[in-house]
Symmetry: C2
Subunit: 515 residues, 2 copies
């Protein structure tokens, strides 16, 4: 066995099932080692952001660490922006980053760069293996870290990959993640707050705390106390629809989020931090809550496993009873011309049973969330770190983690252009992903933000950096070029037909929705 084989066997031994990869020369031994793995599947991305985004999507849906394979500093660099989202989603990821052979690094060959320094801002744990004999321990430790919902980046010099390892040592086991612990003192403090002023209190979910069970408990607590259940604007994953318990999402626009929090004296935080504005704006506060708002941390950020037992303790402390789940309530499917409002109802009507919705619809889609409360049960995945272009890669990984489930990607034309290569991976792997491109031909969010930051008027030179209509992007051509069947919808009826066919079919499809 060589180092690469030891690394891969250790990952396999610890339950890793998929390696999302964009390899280069220094990773060839790792790639060759994949040949002998019976359990780990290699998935090729033609750009590293696809690789890391797919790993994020896979990790969000499976809960299991995803492994990426990246090529030196620049390969890692291309994957960083989606690692930023993964980090904010609490997704378990092990990055394996190839490097020059250890003795080659100091020679400053063209591809040499500071890989550890590049990884650090977007990783919880960074290590360059000290050599082939350490790789078993390193790989197990990386999985241990990842299982805590963190990003572990293991740098693999080529000689550590290709050197033979003294055989006979048993494979190293990673640590199991820590179990959840009920925060009883916090539950009692929360119960006091709720008893004192339930209707002026909100339960705010963040991180990975918003599971179906946790939301059901929160709904019971809310019913017993008059409190409201909120979630952060962008969660990595939240179960929604019929049979689940709904929560109100904190709106993204600051003009809407500030008034929301004026209704509350107190916030009970469940995996969330005190809420802040996504961006700062001149003459607006950065904190979304009024001064004097009281915060009680029921379970801390990054301690997602504590959320459920702590909520259970709170549920009991306030004497809550089961709250009724959301009933199926499908909007009518709209007809005629396409408007953002109608698209919300269309989605509410059409989300398939047990679907995974990956949402990067931004300005078009701010109306979609309330319209899908009573839809068929589904999971909703959002852009946790605000880095754009995450949706199509995340959809690919989510589909790989969830065979048999349909994935619906709500993509903007501007956002989609960051990592369109994800479509090719969707086609290659035959993934059941239906992508709606909501094409408004501009960075509408930036036109909105211009006025938010106090720029009253956008002139032609500035506007040229905000509009996408010259040339128009033809998403049908782009998708077909990457092997994905595609069509364009200019009316709700065309959209309905295309959507029904895409959902009924197998493999990926894309529909350009002209707004």
């Amino acid at each position: 066995m060589n180092g690469a084989e030891t690394l891969l066997a250790t990952l396999e031994h610890n339950g890793v099932e998929v390696c999302f990869a964009n390899p280069g020369t220094s990773e060839m031994h790792f790639v060759a080692a994949l040949e002998t793995s019976t359990r780990i599947r290699g998935v090729l991305g033609l750009f590293e952001g696809v690789v890391t985004g797919a790993a994020d999507g896979y990790a969000r849906m499976s809960g299991n660490p995803a492994v990426t394979l990246l090529h030196l500093g620049p390969g890692l660099a291309n994957g960083l922006s989606n690692l930023h989202n993964a980090l904010r989603a609490g997704s378990p990821i092990v990055n394996v980053i190839g490097d020059h052979a250890s003795y080659h690094r100091d020679l400053d060959a063209p591809l040499t760069s500071d890989i550890e320094g590049t990884a650090r801002p977007f990783s919880h744990w960074v290590r360059t293996t000290s050599g082939e004999e350490s790789l078993g321990v390193d790989a197990a430790e990386a999985v241990t870290i990842a299982r805590r919902g963190k990003i572990a980046s293991l740098i693999l010099p080529a000689d550590a990959a290709w050197n033979p390892v003294a055989s006979g040592a048993p494979l190293v086991a990673a640590q199991a993640p820590a179990g959840g612990v009920a925060q009883t003192a916090a539950a009692e403090a929360s119960a006091r707050v709720l008893r004192e002023g339930g209707p002026r209190t909100a339960l705010l979910f963040g991180g990975r705390a918003a599971t179906a069970e946790a939301l059901a408990l929160a709904a019971g607590i809310a019913a017993a106390t008059g409190a409201e259940v909120l979630t952060n604007t962008h969660l990595g994953r939240i179960p929604r629809g019929a049979g689940r318990h709904a929560a109100k999402k904190v709106p993204y626009p600051i003009k809407d989020s500030l008034p929301l929090f004026e209704r509350f004296d107190s916030l009970v935080l469940i995996g969330a931090k005190p809420p802040v504005a996504f961006f700062a704006y001149p003459d607006r506060p950065s904190r979304l809550t009024p001064p004097g708002t009281r915060f009680v941390e029921l379970s801390g950020p990054g301690r997602d496993a504590d959320a459920l037992p702590s909520l259970q303790a709170l549920y009991e402390a306030v004497g809550a009873a089961p709250a009724p789940a959301t009933e199926l309530a499908l909007p009518q499917r709209p007809t005629g011309s396409i408007t953002p409002e109608k698209l919300g109802a269309f989605l509410g009507h059409g989300i398939p049973e047990d679907a995974i919705v990956v949402d990067e619809s931004l300005t078009t889609g701010w109306r979609f969330y309330p319209e899908t409360v009573g839809s068929r049960p589904h999971d909703w995945l959002a852009g946790t770190g605000g880095s754009i272009g995450y949706a199509m890669p995340v959809a690919a990984g989510a589909a790989i983690a969830s065979p048999g489930r349909k994935v619906i990607t709500l993509e903007s034309d501007g956002s989609g252009m960051y990592m369109p290569q994800a479509l090719w991976t969707q086609a290659r792997e035959g993934l059941d992903v239906v992508t709606l491109i909501l094409a408004n031909r501009k960075y509408q969010i930036l036109r909105n933000e211009m006025s938010n930051v106090g720029v009253p008027e956008v002139g032609p030179k500035a506007g040229a950096l905000l509009d996408l209509d010259r040339p128009e992007i033809d998403w049908v051509s782009i998708a077909r070029g990457m092997g994905v069947q595609a069509s364009r919808a200019e009316t709700m009826d065309e959209l309905g037909k295309a959507f029904d066919a895409a959902v009924a079919g197998e493999g990926p499809a894309l529909i350009e929705v002209v707004l």
Copy 2:
């Protein structure tokens, strides 16, 4: 005036002409300030790697600092891999990276990350401005750094951009780059080496030293001493073709580069370092030169301006005379089926007068270089840092810097898929770029490297990470989807017709060359 306007005015005052941009909310005041700039042109890229790659191409061709505008840590991250190439090319670049307002940063909003830490591995100079009043000085210092062929990254918190600046202060001037200095002692040492054993000596060019004048002097020196003129494998820019003086490029494959250097006892280094292998391979040396090779540094890496006067001194010291320039010698245009060998001759025949060739042809194109020695005069730009996907963005920037010149991009299908969004910018700006996609449907370079690193056979699981044929990428569709006219060539005759039409026309065109 606010901070953003001061920053932009200072850049303009110091000769900046183009800002390649992919802005976000925190950059809106900078975008608005562009409206009032009479001299700086904003160019939109739909992905940050396009922005930084275009800046690299612009800087290589104009010699003038290019400015990029990037959105917080993830936006910067998406641009890093092409900054790596720019750094290795010695391209002058000023990155302006927006950040949250200074008072908002500690609140850890979703887009918050360590921007300085992210910039540092790919920058020579990193600074977060201390506020709007410092921006004039900061901008001038960034230009000073960039003018030395370096990457300067200036982080601009949103409040520094939008706060008013006390008026009246004159705009700050950047320092002029240092002039070149003849390294006379080094020239004398080089002359001694050449007199002792000219035919066993090579002059090796690296960095930005290989200008037309420098190569002419080197040719004279070689003719007088029997030495050979070599260049590093990947130069940012080298003038070639008829009327210029040719140099032999160090081959990329280690099986070819090792024997080359066995012919020499001594190397005279002109902006180059002692040559090393691009990658390490088991049982191969990392240094390309045999032990005992003598190195004389005529002008140091990063001191490109010294190269010309130092060569002049060496030229005089060895009593050289002008060497004849390369004569025009066009290969016949081949016909019939398409092979990589014929493509070399096709290019040699077809490169237009004064064209800019951006080369990322990798395995297909290793034959192209010798076939184009006697072509019409042109500049040849290569992937200096080994980070893949650079060519189409660099072509866009090179074209913007060089109105009236045709740009020919030699792109591989695998490499092209990293940043295809560059085609959209080429269409938007109406750039005269002709892209040849050399489509072999695989990462052939990795298949080659597999055997180089000692993996004799590629099995199906490993091969699945190296082949691009499932699904086939339809580059004609992708290009048209981004507004670039495109066609497919399956014979040399089809290629000839399409190429002639593309070169004769205006605006970008793409030809998928099926291998």
